[in-house]
């Protein structure tokens, strides 16, 4: 297997697949590193093997993945499944682990298409067995044909929460309640965004159908819920919340949480990409130009990882990055790049019309969440919200300092599950903005791997240089 590629794509969701297909079609030598066993990312997970019943239930938005994967399979891009990237640098070096072996490759360009994840939100009891992300239930349905069998409560905020609710209703799952933390009435700002959204009646119709399915089912649906709490001993027994000024409680076997979607940014942070904070959606994203180029000339950010805009936008963003890379490799002149990009940009624009409306309706509010001192914030290291508050009271003002003092974010997930809430808590406690308290530093390996694997690596590429173990500690 070769160890040099014109371009390496990390992730095989809509952005990665579109970028890789396009670059390969342009004649570039492309490698795709996918952590999953099959292409599709989360949105098109397992779509190639999906049963007709699953395809039917998930609809056109899922089936689209089939065309994308077909195009990808026809292209010359080389696909590595189960490839877990654990080190990347902006000079194009990538280390990844596959089948218990690690290897290093070098690429002229790196396209990061690692997508998004659900915003982890530490409500009391969220670490009890029986509490899961709504996205997890969706993944289980796609991957394994699993459906929740006991009483289910869905809680949180965002269109995907309602989408999951409507899917479960159609499957006949017993839902005890839907507890939305979204305000009853959207903010007046919403009106401004309604006008462009009206140009996409197809999109609005989809949303209305979803809401109608939920309404028709007669399932208890509370809005503006606060003080959400999962209760149980060794596993979930009950979900409690305050709705309309009263405490409500529901016996349940499964609680599905969803608080919107945020970009997965570990790879960008590892490579030292400049990050910016989206104050409205309360997440960090890499700064990039209209082609997806980050502050590093050869590193591109595409898909939801560069800002959450959904599966179609991800695909278009992937195409744009591919065209620019094709141009930089001398395959297409700039006028051809621009000509090919023009219809894609038009589709991207049209796709985005309703997005500000949806974003505004479901925008997370600062301090909206009920962070209780006893709640476990960092699952890996068992650090509570109270531990973090105590550190801040003692004068610590930056998330990395909190990490050193409390171990919050030091476990195997490397702060993926606690990082966003950690910043919210530190900022609230220090009476400052999330932007001011920093981002957890990311170091290799991005995911834990056995040390023996590193020792056994062939280091042809790096052999000219001396080992520099302290590279990441220098600024």
């Amino acid at each position: 297997m070769s160890s040099y590629y014109d371009s390496a794509v990390i992730g095989a969701g809509p952005a990665g697949l579109a970028a890789a297909s396009r670059m390969a079609e342009l004649g570039l030598k492309v490698l795709v590193l996918d952590e999953q066993p099959r292409p599709g990312g989360q949105i098109y997970r397992n779509v190639e093997n999906a049963s007709p019943a699953t395809l039917q239930l998930m609809g056109e938005d899922y089936r689209r993945g089939l065309d994308l994967i077909k195009r990808f399979n026809h292209s010359s891009a080389h696909y590595e499944s189960n490839a877990m990237v654990w080190q990347t640098s902006s000079d194009g070096r990538i280390c990844y682990s596959r089948n218990r072996k690690s290897r290093e490759i070098k690429a002229g360009h790196i396209v990061v298409a690692t997508g998004a994840m659900e915003r982890p939100c530490p409500i009391p009891g969220w670490n009890l067995p029986g509490v899961m992300g709504a996205g997890a239930a969706n993944n289980l349905a796609k991957e394994a044909g699993l459906t929740p069998s006991g009483r289910v409560v869905l809680a949180g905020s965002g269109p995907l929460l309602l989408l999951e609710a409507s899917l479960l209703i159609e499957k006949g799952v017993e839902i005890a309640a839907i507890l939305e933390t979204t305000p009853k009435l959207p903010s007046p700002n919403t009106l401004v965004h309604l006008i462009p959204a009206l140009r996409r009646t197809d999109f609005l119709a989809k949303g209305l159908k979803m809401v109608r399915t939920i309404k028709k089912s007669g399932i208890l649906h509370h809005k503006a819920v606060t003080k959400l709490r999962a209760v149980g001993g060794d596993r979930l027994k009950r979900v409690e919340a305050v709705a309309n000024g009263k405490t409500v409680a529901f016996e349940a076997e499964l609680l599905l949480l969803h608080f919107g979607v945020i970009p997965s940014t570990h790879l960008f942070r590892l490579m030292g990409c400049t990050m910016e904070y989206n104050d409205r959606q309360r997440y960090w994203y890499p700064v990039c130009d209209s082609w997806g180029r980050t502050n590093h000339e050869n590193v591109f950010a595409t898909g939801d990882g560069s800002g959450v805009r959904g599966a179609l936008a991800a695909e278009y963003k992937g195409e744009l990055a591919a065209l620019e890379i094709g141009h930089c490799c001398g395959i297409i002149p700039h006028y051809e790049r621009d000509e090919l990009a023009s219809p894609i940009r038009a589709m991207l624009y049209s796709d985005n019309l309703p997005r500000p409306l949806v974003d505004e309706i479901y925008a997370p509010a600062a301090g909206a969440h009920f962070f209780e001192d006893e709640t476990v914030l960092c699952r890996c290291e068992n650090v509570t919200v109270g531990d973090v508050r105590k550190a801040v009271k003692e004068g610590v003002r930056n998330v990395n300092e909190v990490k050193i003092v409390t171990r919050c974010g030091m476990g195997p997930c490397q702060g993926r599950m606690c990082g966003p809430a950690l910043a919210e808590i530190v900022a609230a406690e220090a009476k400052t903005e999330v932007e001011q308290v920093g981002l957890l530093t990311v170091r290799p390996p991005l995911k834990p791997i056995p040390l023996g694997e590193v020792a056994e690596m062939e280091l042809e590429l790096g052999s000219q240089e001396q080992a520099d173990l302290f590279k990441n500690m220098r600024k």
Partner: protein, 96 residues
Amino acid sequence: MFKRDQHTDNENVAVILDGETTNLPGNMSVAASLLSEGRIVAKISPASKKPCSPHCLMGVCYECLMEIDGVKQQACMVEIQEGMVINRRLGTMEED
């Protein structure tokens, strides 16, 4: 907590789960396969000593970390295979 849809016909594979030969549905991740059989506890947290179950099923949370064929791995990222040796190290904890 989960049931398999009627239209799925994933053939079972035999694995050694916590020292006992166990038949589990194949063609899915180890985490999904265990969940489909009602085995919801994936590990005992080394930090809190409390049981954990998979939370994200997409490789983020590490709540499903277990020993698979001798190496600690995320059960949601590994496909279940015939003959696999899976150790959750639940100790004396009883599963429902």
